[in-house]
């Protein structure tokens, strides 16, 4: 290909990256997560090999959903996308816990038409209309990705933390606004609303650029989907997990990949 890729194609590629079989990680970096009512936070969002390192691509904010403590959806303010990171602001007008999520659901299809490779990306409900039923060499995969962070003003609550029952999700058992060095935190992972047992969970602390090893830690959920995480240092932490299975929305898709990432802030006691 001699012509440079159009901008839209690049953006789509960037959006697909965290869910493709690549080493890139999507992340959100909130300025603070434990605050008082009416305070503002600013959040950066990006995609890079190491979480929080702004050296690859900005995260698209099209699928950003912010759930307020009363369960309503509130818009982000001052949204902008740069080369290496997107950014937005949020004022915590309500007391309680906000969930800031980027939810990507979609299907990828590839096939051959008149000797030429064809690619399609879209949602399950448009699959039948947009992908030929008898495409040659049709390969379909489905992905559900959820990237979340949380901010709490005043007293925490869990209205915004209720799981949707779709894909891989995290439910805090110990308080999401009470993560401290030296204390164990318990989270439950759910897959389609049911406990995700035996799931490998990766934890990476911010600041990889200033140390020689990424220092990732892996944990495993038990039969009830519970995982206990411990922290040795304060800072933003990336908590990631993913599963691959055959529970797809359309029969043509052989594989579903569900991924989940939470960004949490651990404080010093």
């Amino acid at each position: 290909m001699t012509k440079p890729l159009p901008k839209l194609a690049l953006l789509l590629l960037a959006a697909a990256l965290p869910f493709a079989a690549s080493a890139h990680k999507g992340w959100l970096a909130p300025s603070k997560t434990v605050l008082n009512v009416d305070q503002w936070i600013t959040v950066d969002a990006g995609v890079s090999t190491e979480p929080f390192v702004r050296d690859h691509n900005a995260m698209r904010l099209d699928n950003l959903v912010i759930t307020a403590p009363d369960g309503s959806t509130v818009p982000a303010e001052n949204t902008a996308s740069g080369k290496l990171r997107s950014t937005f602001d949020l004022q915590l007008k309500q007391a309680g816990t906000y969930r800031i999520a980027i939810v990507n659901e979609g299907m990828n299809a590839s096939w051959t038409e008149e000797g030429k490779p064809k690619r399609w990306r879209g949602t399950a409900d448009k699959f039948a209309a947009e992908v030929p039923a008898k495409a040659e060499g049709l390969k379909v995969s489905e992905s559900q990705g959820r990237l979340e962070t949380f901010a709490t003003a005043g007293k925490p609550n869990d209205t915004a933390l209720k799981p949707t029952g779709k894909g891989l999700e995290l439910v805090p058992v110990s308080g999401i606004a009470d993560l401290f060095v030296g204390e164990e935190a318990t989270f439950r992972f759910l897959l389609d609303g049911k406990p995700a047992a035996n799931l490998e969970v990766e934890v990476i602390r911010d600041g990889t650029r200033y140390r020689n090893a990424i220092g990732e830690k892996t944990f495993k959920t038990d039969a009830d989907g519970l995982v206990k995480l411990s922290w040795t240092d304060a800072g933003l932490h990336y908590i990631g997990a993913s599963v691959q299975d055959a529970r797809t929305s359309v029969p043509q898709a052989k594989e579903r990949r569900a991924s989940y990432t939470a960004i949490v802030e651990v404080l010093s006691p």
């Binding site: 434990v34 605050l35 008082n36 009416d38 305070q39 004022q91 007293k155 308080g175 606004a177 006691p269």
Partner: protein, 184 residues
């Protein structure tokens, strides 16, 4: 007032557990050699052995931050992100242990930040301590300072005390000498 009516009342009060006991707390805010000094936010509370809050004793923070003073009875000004409550979450342990459940300012609990010095507070049968069941408790003092650091000092004591007891601790950075004196 008729003294004859008062006497049985006093006797009844005396019979309640811990009602006559007293807890004296002394907190020193140390002199710091820094270019830009802001008075620290300080919270003092009593913690149970499971770390839950048994009693909030005091919170010193910047109650008024800029703006003209409000006339008594005037409508509460709209909370601004620049009000002094913005920094209360920096008293991290106090905030998570119960500070975030309170509405500030709070009568008998909150007051303005204090300059360098030693401050004595006494808590007796009219304080939240009066209702505490006997047991082992911790007094926690937490300080956080703008453009400065944060420090937490704790002292264990039994309540109510069988004999007058004094416990001392020394802060290293944001707090100076801390003393708890418990009297039966």
């Amino acid at each position: 007032m008729n003294k004859n009516h008062l006497l049985p009342l006093l006797a009844a009060l005396g019979a309640l557990p811990a009602s006559a006991a007293q807890l004296d707390v002394s907190v020193q805010i140390p002199q710091l050699d820094v270019a830009e000094y802001h008075r620290p936010y300080v919270a003092v509370w009593v913690e149970r052995e499971d770390r839950s809050v048994a009693a909030n004793l005091s919170v010193w923070y910047q109650v008024k931050r800029g703006g003209p003073p409000q006339a008594p009875g005037a409508a509460k000004p709209p909370a601004s992100s620049e009000s002094g409550t913005k920094w209360l979450p920096d008293l991290r342990q106090w905030w998570r242990r119960g500070g975030r459940d309170l509405s500030m300012p709070s009568d008998g609990l909150s007051s303005a930040t204090k300059p360098v010095g030693t401050y004595e507070q006494s808590f007796g049968d009219k304080s939240p301590l009066a209702a505490l069941p006997p047991g082992r408790y911790k007094l926690i003092v937490e300080a956080a300072r703008e453009d400065g650091g944060r420090e937490l000092v704790d002292l264990a004591f039994d309540w109510p005390a069988k004999a007058a007891t004094t416990v001392d601790a020394q802060g290293k950075s944001e707090l100076g000498a801390i003393r708890v004196a418990v009297k039966p």
